[in-house]
Symmetry: C2
Subunit: 332 residues, 2 copies
């Protein structure tokens, strides 16, 4: 085998900090013990990335996987308006990775946590027979009364999205093509897939200012995640592609390949941007935040009375038909 | 494929409760939101069971796996003296399990949680290419000042263990023999492997009375986990097998197969009993708890000055040699 338990535990002890604010007891005991901040709720979420379902080592370095596994869980904290505090890692490695791979993964996992003010407080390592996988439990907190659920949208709210969704899916298509060479602009799209950025600061800024009525992160595509938010809130929505915030790289692909690319942009997933609704009375406050650069977001539509349906108008104003079924990675 | 995402999500919604004390927001949003109890620390732990490493479906029904996956994580909460509050499940299923299997697993997972006052607050489902695995994050709490770490043992403490360790390993050997028929007493041992009981009530009783100086749960065998506790505490210990609490089933195997069975009993693992040390001044209080039946535990040895070494005296008083290396499931 590639690494002994002793080496692995020594590596873990070396890499992860034992002391941090609010951490009563870190890695090395049966549990981590954390001290919740007074006046806050604790947020907790868990996500798993499995090789062959969510990533391939062909396109994903251990550092990319570390960042992405952290990003996926922290994005859920961001979507509630929370601040990340602690992360626990369950690493199921296989005999096909060596100590260098594991070391690179763990070091970058720590760095990724630190960048978001998050401390690695515990975890678990095991040898899996075949599938390499990582499960990250993220713990965050949000001031009482500031939490943003996905169920709070009301008819007449504006629909906003952060960043430029769709880049991740288009980048993934480029990766999958596995060409010997890529152009600079193509690499930028690919990096959007391999190194997504959880929108922690934007989510907190929005929640602290009490701007969104509902919020969700985009893991399975704007269309599916917006439908989830609409269903949870009991409203419908119409979005238009005329003002949709495309990156210039994505716009270039739409120009070349035509309008069909929009389906991929709206349904591709793994953007980890935030999708949120804003009551009319708070739109001005949001637009100020956007103008000063505290949040990067664009208005894409409007909610209305209804039971969770989504209408998408293309850039000519015609209704665009989209697949309706939910998406479970690897199950289609 | 065996189950669609829609069916799976409907099943999850049907099975898991949305409301519980301290649960601000349950399954169905980006995160669960929980309200910590004032004056308490939050305990958190994560454990994974992987088919082929930790279990085989040949010997493990979905109900057994549900109970065991819950038990393994709750045992860590018990070992800190905590009360379980919430659990999050990451289920990586494969195409080799059908909706009946998943339904049976999820229902028993809920029941197992409820038995320990624990609420399933969130999770994640994904389709894995090959390895079926479950990762359970358990969240508990303990009153400030009552938490029991593994590092608190001092020279001169008594060493105690709950229940009858070794049964699980002996039961596993019987299971693995895969015989067409078993006797009643053999089935009892096998059940100790397939349906371990986390010692939540005992752990809490001990911590509430401030009895242990250190505590750990036995996942990898008395010998290895005791060494871990000794190393964390910076003491050595001597234990004797003369008064070791054997079940009558295990005693029967020792009688038949001889003293070599002791190595298996001490190093087999997966007992999920509690191992703890007690300062001399608190032994009387503990013996009262044991006498009244609030805790089932037996004294097996004594700590002393030292640097983490463990001496085991067999029933004739001779030193028993044991393997020293740590144990990572599946990595030997």
């Amino acid at each position: 085998m590639s690494i002994t338990e002793r080496e692995l535990l020594a590596m873990i002890e070396r890499i992860f900090p034992q002391r941090a604010d609010g951490l009563e007891l870190g890695i090395g005991d049966d549990c981590a013990a954390i001290r919740p901040s007074p006046g806050h709720e604790t947020l907790i979420t868990v996500d798993t990335l499995i090789e062959g379902t969510h990533f391939s080592r062909k396109y994903t370095t251990p550092r990319d996987l570390a960042r992405k596994s952290m990003a996926v869980s922290l994005s859920d904290i961001a979507a509630m308006g929370g601040a990340p505090r602690f992360a626990l890692l369950s690493l199921n490695f296989t005999r096909t990775v060596d100590r260098r791979w594991i070391g690179a993964y763990l070091k970058e996992f720590r760095s990724a946590a630190e960048r978001f003010g998050c401390v690695v407080a515990g975890g678990n390592v095991a040898l899996a027979p075949r599938d390499l996988s990582v499960t990250v439990t993220a713990v965050g907190e949000v001031k009482r009364g500031r939490r943003v659920d996905r169920s709070g949208a009301r008819p007449g709210d504006a629909v906003y999205v952060t960043g430029t969704p769709g880049d991740s899916a288009l980048g993934f298509d480029l990766l999958r093509a596995n060409r010997p060479r890529y152009r600079q602009w193509e690499r930028r799209l690919m990096a959007r897939h391999t190194r997504p950025e959880p929108r922690v600061a934007w989510g907190r800024a929005l929640a602290n200012k009490k701007i969104p009525s509902a919020m969700i992160d985009i893991s399975d595509g704007v269309a599916i995640d917006l439908r989830r938010m609409l269903a949870a809130s009991g409203v419908s929505a119409r979005i238009g592609l005329f003002n949709f915030p495309l990156s210039k790289e994505a716009a270039r692909i739409v120009e070349t390949k035509g309008e069909a690319v929009w389906r991929r942009i709206l349904s591709g997933g793994e953007d980890y941007e935030l999708l949120f609704t804003v009551p009319p009375g708070r739109v001005k406050k949001l637009e100020r935040l956007i103008a000063e650069g505290s949040v990067v977001a664009a208005r894409i539509g409007q909610t209305m009375e209804g039971r969770g349906s989504l209408t998408v108008a293309d850039r000519s104003g015609n209704v665009l038909a989209l697949e309706h079924e939910g998406f479970l990675h690897g199950s289609e």
